[in-house]
């Protein structure tokens, strides 16, 4: 060793958090005897300004070459103390934290033993800090562009926020139009705003925004790279209609001979093989559904092409793979409804008049199959008695254990809107609990119950069957304990929400999902829109069930995270990554085989670490049979020295 290290040890009392269990004075006395230690002192709160000044002054006056702060967990104040060291002229990695709070004082009661342990922990940190090499952060360039996956309200909001900040956005949507589920809704709780009326201006803004590049009928198929520098491959399926030439005249659909169920209306109406999902679709262009269109065989059909004056229809359009580079990614892939078929006792599929909540939204919508009138699917009659069942699939151990959060509110809205449309009708709501936590939500429920006279029955429905053209709903009122048998004309099931597409996408993005398939945030409270992969953010129902206002809030949060990332001049990364000793490495390839971040490749017989991809997890170092792969500043030999010094 060229320079004899001069270590300063600073022991924090943390009020009584540490000092009550660890004899701080004794720690200082003992650790002063350590051969490397030239300065040791204690202070009530080392993280306070005077505490930090102690460290600063000692570095200057005692010419310290390394600092150990014995205090709380490094996740709390490592940065604080490293900054002080930097200010005093030390490299930030010549400062180590000995955690004598979480790992010592908080978990012990015996003062003598805890004191001994604290001394040992500090001894370990001294061994490490003297071996630490001074390092500098790794500098990265940023591609100032953001990818937003999913064109529902979450994706739209995020895309607009980012584009409005002056950052180009690529918005990828699987279906032929953006808008997502919100476009299907009638009115929104609790204010009864018309959903399309508030959504479509935003959709148009997306379409017109010079900084937003929209890919519909598209999917992200491959993601590589890292924060600031992702490479994405987007599969763009053919629309068969040139979206720039199409004028939406509708002549094509008029002549199209094919009729299929309209998925936008959840199968409650029919559409042609060439269609627009709904009048305000963005991009404003027709699309051909290749599954049902006959025109791919020119002998069979081609009527639409014949009538299209714009010559916008092209049956020869091919799939394209588009490659884009972006600096950040926002995932907003939304939700789907739990498959109703799985709940056989409610007879969905057997009884036409048992429908799900989104189907009911379409019935309520003025652009829907009935023009906003409530008519039941079987015979088009107006249902005079209607039952709403909440928590279908949700909060059910056999199906979805979680609460889908929005069903209480939209069911109340459904019941209210039903009464608007059918004032003499009777509505019943079966519920387990009413969860109406939100601004104006509880008041809304109260209005529905009291002003609109909707009957709320607390209890689950056990089965539904048909008798004499009526649906019989069997349940129990758990408040009175009396079995309930209701004869109704129609039943609406408030289906639980499930994530869609997030599972496969999460694999491609290498971000974790929870047990149900929702995207996993880093911290539910403090980092709710960040994924564990730097530069990948999550929002909307892909992260968990939530209503529109919460979705928009989260989308804006994700956007602001992306903006704050993409507006930095440079990115910096911790240099504590894996490093290859090329003199030893013989390129056996074990490390490259197991690196979870694909950060290692074998080049000319030697492993090479991509410092930017490397997350410093240490998997390679553990597996490296020759010891050539080491984590910077946590080399095997350092760890062994630390263990020896602590146990010795």
């Amino acid at each position: 060793m060229a320079v004899r290290e001069r270590v300063g040890v600073f022991v924090c009392h943390c009020g009584r958090n540490i000092a009550a269990t660890v004899d701080v004075k004794k720690v200082v006395e003992e650790i002063s005897k350590h051969p490397y230690v030239v300065h040791a002192e204690d202070y009530k709160y080392m993280c306070s300004d005077p505490g930090q000044k102690l460290i600063y002054d000692a570095i200057k006056s005692k010419k310290l070459t390394a600092v150990v702060v014995a205090a709380c967990s490094p996740t709390m104040h490592e940065e604080t103390f490293r900054k002080v060291c930097e200010e005093a002229g030390l490299n930030r990695y010549k400062c180590e934290i000995a955690n004598i709070r979480e790992q010592c004082s908080w978990v012990h009661t015996d003062i003598e033993k805890a004191t001994e342990k604290a001394i040992r922990i500090i001894r370990g940190a001294i061994e490490k800090v003297v071996k630490n090499r001074p390092l500098h952060k790794i500098e990265l360039d940023i591609v100032r562009k953001c990818l937003v996956i999913g064109g529902g309200i979450a994706g739209i909001q995020a895309a607009l926020d980012i584009a409005n900040a002056g950052i180009p956005v690529i918005l990828v949507e699987k279906s032929p139009t953006i808008g997502g589920h919100m476009a299907q809704l009638s009115e929104t709780f609790p204010t009864l705003d018309c959903s399309q009326c508030i959504l479509t201006p935003k959709m148009v803004e997306v379409a017109r925004h010079p900084l937003i590049k929209l890919y519909t009928c598209s999917e992200v198929i491959e993601v590589s790279g890292y924060v600031g520098n992702f490479r994405v491959k987007i599969l763009k399926r053919p629309r068969y209609v040139d979206e720039y030439k199409c004028t939406m005249c509708g002549d094509c659909a008029d002549v199209c001979p094919v009729l299929v169920l309209n998925e936008f209306d959840r199968g409650l109406s029919l559409r042609k093989a060439i269609y627009i999902p709904f009048p305000q679709a963005v991009p404003a262009a027709y699309v051909i559904d290749p599954e049902s269109c006959l025109g791919f065989n020119p002998i069979k059909c081609g009527k639409c092409k014949d009538v299209c004056e714009q010559e916008a229809i092209d049956f020869d359009m091919k799939e394209e793979i588009i490659e884009e580079e972006v600096g950040a990614i926002i995932v907003a892939t939304g939700y789907g409804l739990y498959p109703k078929e799985k709940i056989g006792e409610y007879g969905y599929g057997r009884y036409e008049d048992v429908i799900d909540s989104l189907e009911f939204e379409r019935l309520l919508s003025s652009t829907g199959p009935t023009g906003g009138e409530i008519r039941r699917p079987s015979d088009g009659k107006i249902p005079k008695r209607i039952a709403f069942i909440q928590c279908v699939g949700s909060r059910d151990e056999n199906h979805l254990p979680y609460c889908s959060k929005i069903c209480c509110m939209y069911t109340a809205k459904h019941a209210m809107l039903y009464k608007h449309r059918v004032p003499d009708g009777e509505a019943y709501v079966f519920y387990i609990d009413i969860r109406a936590a939100g601004k104006g939500y509880e008041e809304f429920i109260k209005r529905v119950q009291e002003e609109y006279g909707i009957t709320y029955i607390r209890g689950r429905v056990s089965k539904i069957y048909e008798e004499n053209g009526k649906l019989i709903v069997h349940g129990v009122d758990t408040l009175t304990g009396v079995p309930v048998k209701l004869e109704v004309d129609m039943v609406v099931l408030a289906m639980g929400m499930i994530p869609t597409g997030s599972i496969e996408l999460a694999k491609k993005l290498k971000i974790p999902i929870d047990q149900y398939g929702f995207l996993q945030e880093v911290h539910p409270k403090l980092r709710p829109v960040e994924s564990v992969s730097d530069g990948i953010y999550i929002c909307g129902c892909a992260q968990g069930p939530k209503d529109i206002s919460e979705t928009v809030t989260q989308a804006s949060a994700a956007a602001s995270k992306a903006i704050s990332l993409l507006t930095r001049p440079k990115l910096y990364r911790e240099p504590l990554v894996a490093e290859v000793n090329e003199e030893i490495c013989s390129g056996c390839g074990v490390c490259a085989s197991i690196c979870p971040y694909s950060a290692i490749e074998i080049v000319e017989g030697v492993a090479r670490v991509n410092e930017i991809l490397c997350a410093g997890c240490g998997t390679c170092s553990a597996a490296c049979p020759s010891g050539a792969m080491q984590l910077r500043n946590i080399e095997d030999k350092t760890v062994l020295r630390m263990i020896k010094s602590m146990l010795g």
Binding site: C585, C588, G589, A592, S593, G605, A623, C624, D636, K637
Partner: protein, 330 residues
Amino acid sequence: MKKLKLAIIPTGSCSGCDTSLVDAGETFVKALEYLDIVYWPIAMDLKVDSLLKAESIDILIVHGSIRTEEHEHLVKEAAKKAKYIVAYGSCTCFGGIPGLANLFFRDELLKKVYIETFSTVNPEEKIPGVTCEDERLKIPKLREWIHPLDEIVDVDLYVPGCPPPGEIVEKFLETIIAHAERGEPLPEKGTVLAGLKTVCDECPREKPDKIVVKKFVRISEAKEIDEKKCLLAQGIICMGPATRSGCDARCLKVNMPCRGCMGPSPEVVDMGAKLISMISSIVYADKEREVGEERLKKVVEEIVDPAGYFYRFTLPGSILGRTRRRRDKE
């Protein structure tokens, strides 16, 4: 010309190391011109007294495991007057194959070998370390544990291998000749006469992009071996990635997996632990999670005699080996 005084002490040895020296042929003969052999029981008719009474020894070569009290005694005595001590062969460098005996306590070993084995007839249950009746014959007592040589005396040079491969023996002898002839210094203390890299560096076999193993097979049980491809990638446990180079991958060239006789690379403290870590890392490396703990465990459990496999040459000097010995002391 003043000749260098050389003593070669075989301890618990198979004599393969002696053979490897002789096998160096002309270089060995040339080296002999500069050497005055003080003690080398396998080659010269010199008794122990000539070693014990020698005034000084310039180069002391020890090979074999330090197994009996006599071994320890001889080595310690010789070391007192030796100027340069060479740990020759894997037994002295790391403990070697006999070092696997450290998996058992001495009494267990003796009982097994001298009393319990099927082919042994020993009605009086006599074991070494017991003086015979007429007191003419004294068998040295077995030490409790086998130690690498450097835990007994200070070692200057390590010549690993079981036995050390020709290229390395040649290099060793050349070093001695250069020292005797031209006064060039012998390698500095702690030098290991082998490559810095691992056997993979010298291995001509093709390495795949990814090594993923779904099942381990022993070489003797493998139905088919691709003669050009990495053995490890074919599920045959090969110590090559963890073993120091210098042998020219000779085992690999004849379709045998590396057994690790050259010992660990310089950055590795516990070779067996490293090997275990490596082997367990590559099992279903591509889909560990999908496969699940149970299945992974099964694959690993099928490895026959893992301690013997992974610690074949290095148990006594390993962390595991030392911990066991220390525990025993306490």
